[in-house]
């Protein structure tokens, strides 16, 4: 038992509550928003040390013994994810100080942001499949409001698509949970892992696995279920786009990794179709996403399609089902959250300077703001997988994993998609940064400094922090790779997880 395990959920809840209580004062809201995020990061660090030193940590909520109560479980994967979500929470809270207008603040932007983070952390920590559903709902309701907050026509259009497809996915998820409960009579994930291999109707197990694949696939935006994502993620303010694009889809990936290593393994389904299907899904997601990105000319739309494409890599790593593959997938998730969010944040700065997200109307950023250009290059090259940035190690470990189990075709596809990624990043670079200053530019372009009057530095600080993290992970990748390897090994040997939750078998 580790009582601290509830903190990554409780701290955002407390922060949101305080934010609601003091919602009249915009100044207090901001302070509470940022300090809450700092406290969350602190709790994540403390918990991380516990998990690193003593292995998997468990908390039985309300002191009800597993499998009857709700269990919170933290293994290395959970802690890596909670850690990155805490970092992102802080980054976005700072960025929002400038990016979010008074109107949205008044409608409770900061409490909602923290409720969203609570939902994300809850999904990572829970050891109960129905509780996972509940956290998904918490996350979705908060994200619905964040997406629609502000009421512009464009936003509502995107939000509607997002709401409907995600409600559908929740419904599918609930069907899957019902089937699992019908087959095994339990909802605790560790208990499920024990009982699923004993179920005689293996066909039904495979069917349920497919249902989960569809449900989480929609959330993670994999091929062919990704259409809602590029249609909605470019509509809200940049801070919201960034946390959605960086973090939310990865919760779907996390859920896929969790259920396909703990519940639906080769042993419980008695066949290997599932991972073959995942492999195809991953391949198509990579290719279709990157082609979609190549065909668009709006900054955030390109980035949205890239989210889809990058999800493919993670699914591919999971489908390899080897320690190396899963390690690559986890590393990829972490690297991608950093690189992708940073690109979104930079698009926000560019929009502030040029007044548009349309690449054709942009230009001259390199001439007037070379420092911003350098930060963009770091993130874009990391996304494309250039050494020595974080993306290189992510791609390298996936490629290595693919070659070691002789999956040459998909590995080739992955490398090719990397090249195409570079192509669309170059497109942004050539138009927004290198091309001449556009005629119809806002008056302040070129005159307003990044640091100093105008307070643009509030936007630049988060961007610089993430860029620093990307370089750090790139130059000093070994510790993080080792942590990801620990996480992957824990995932591939569920007996440790089961024993931690249910006690010695």
């Amino acid at each position: 038992m580790n009582g601290m395990l509830v903190l990554p959920v409780a701290i955002p809840l407390i922060t949101a509550t305080l934010g609601l209580l003091f919602r009249k004062s915009s100044q207090l809201q901001r302070w509470i928003g940022v300090l809450g995020a700092v406290a969350l990061l602190g709790s994540a660090v403390v918990l991380f040390r516990d998990v690193y030193a003593d292995g998997i940590q468990v908390l039985q909520l309300g002191n009800w013994a597993a499998p009857f109560g709700i269990t919170l479980v933290a293994d290395m994967l959970t802690m890596l994810m909670v850690g990155i979500s805490a970092i992102m929470g802080l980054i976005i809270a700072i960025y929002s100080l400038y990016d979010i207008d008074k109107e949205r603040e008044r409608f409770g932007y900061y409490p909602l942001l923290h409720i969203l983070i609570m939902g994300v952390n809850g999904s990572f920590l829970t050891g109960d499949i129905f509780n996972l559903y509940v956290w998904f709902e918490v996350m979705l309701i908060a994200s619905f409001i964040l997406l629609a907050l502000g009421n512009s026509k464009n936003q509502l259009q995107g939000a509607l698509k997002y709401v409907f497809i995600n409600l559908f996915s929740s419904l599918v998820f609930l069907f899957g949970v019902a089937l699992l409960y019908g087959m095994t009579g339990t909802l605790n994930m560790a208990d499920l892992a024990v009982r699923l291999p004993e179920v005689e109707n293996t066909g039904l197990v495979t069917t349920t696995a497919m249902i989960f694949m569809v449900a989480f696939g929609i959330k993670a935006a994999v091929f062919p279920l990704f259409f809602w994502l590029p249609a909605s993620y470019h509509t809200p303010p940049v801070a919201i786009s960034a946390i959605f694009g960086g973090l939310l889809t990865k919760v779907g990936v996390y859920a896929l990794i969790r259920v396909f290593t703990l519940l639906f393994t080769v042993e419980s389904a008695h066949n290997d179709y599932l991972h073959t299907i995942l492999l195809w899904v991953g391949g198509f997601t990579m290719v279709i996403g990157v082609l979609g990105a190549a065909s668009h000319m709006e900054f955030r739309k390109i980035l949205s399609f890239h989210i889809v494409s990058q999800i493919g890599y993670m699914i591919m790593g999971l489908a390899f089902n080897t320690a190396m593959g899963i390690m690559g997938a986890i590393f990829y998730v972490l690297h991608n959250i950093l690189a992708k969010s940073n690109l979104f944040l930079i698009s926000g700065v560019a929009q502030r300077l040029l007044g548009t997200f349309e690449l054709k109307k942009m230009g001259g950023l390199y001439k007037h703001y070379p420092f911003l250009a350098v930060l963009f290059l770091i993130s874009a090259f990391a996304l494309a997988g250039f050494p020595p940035l974080s993306g290189f190690w992510a791609k390298l470990s996936l490629v290595k994993a693919g070659l070691s189990i002789e999956q040459y075709v998909i590995t080739g596809v992955a490398i090719l998609v990397g090249l195409l990624t570079l192509f669309s990043m170059t497109k942004i670079w050539l138009t927004a940064f290198w091309s001449p200053v556009p005629d119809e530019k806002p008056e302040h372009f070129g005159k307003i400094p990044l640091f100093g009057a105008g307070k643009l530095y509030i936007l630049m600080i988060p961007v610089m922090i993430i860029a620093g993290l990307i370089i750090m992970v790139g130059l000093y990748a070994q510790p993080l790779l080792e942590l990801c390897m620990t996480a992957a090994e824990q995932l591939l040997d569920p007996s440790v997880y089961i024993e931690a939750v249910l006690g010695p078998q």
Partner: protein
């Protein structure tokens, strides 16, 4: 809405509804009832009032802004969860305090505090929704 019947009936009903909601609330835990259902009935009372006398009058009767009500509800939920953590027990563990007065024995507990939170959240949420709908239309 200007209707003499509705106005008179509302004045009579509202006290009954609020009392009934409190009855349902305290009946909870061991028997059907509790914070959620009690909160729904309580919100029903204010909804009726809002239909009969308008939202402005209801805001005055309610005195406290519905969103603040939600905030206090959440606060109560969080506190009830955190109390057991101070004696090194897991979040949300039920802690009971029995007070014997002789005639009425009182049971105070963290689940009660949790339920109060649920009650406030439900009332606050539904009243917020009703107010927004009424004021827009």
């Amino acid at each position: 809405m200007k209707s003499l019947i509705l106005h008179t009936a509302t004045r009579l009903m509202i006290g009954v509804l609020v009392l009934f909601s409190l009855f349902l609330f305290f009946r909870g835990h061991d028997e059907p009832g509790g914070g959620f259902i009690g909160g729904l009935v309580g919100a029903g009372a204010f909804t009726l009032y809002a239909i009969a006398f308008g939202t402005e009058a209801t805001r005055q009767v309610l005195r406290i802004h519905p969103i603040t009500l939600i905030a206090y509800g959440l606060l109560s939920l969080v506190v009830s969860g955190l109390i057991p953590m101070f004696i090194a027990e897991p979040f949300l563990t039920g802690k009971w305090l029995f007070i014997e007065w002789g005639a009425f024995d009182t049971k105070l507990s963290t689940p009660l505090l949790f339920d109060i939170g649920v009650y406030l959240c439900v009332v606050g949420f539904i009243v917020t929704v009703i107010f927004s709908l009424e004021e827009e239309g």
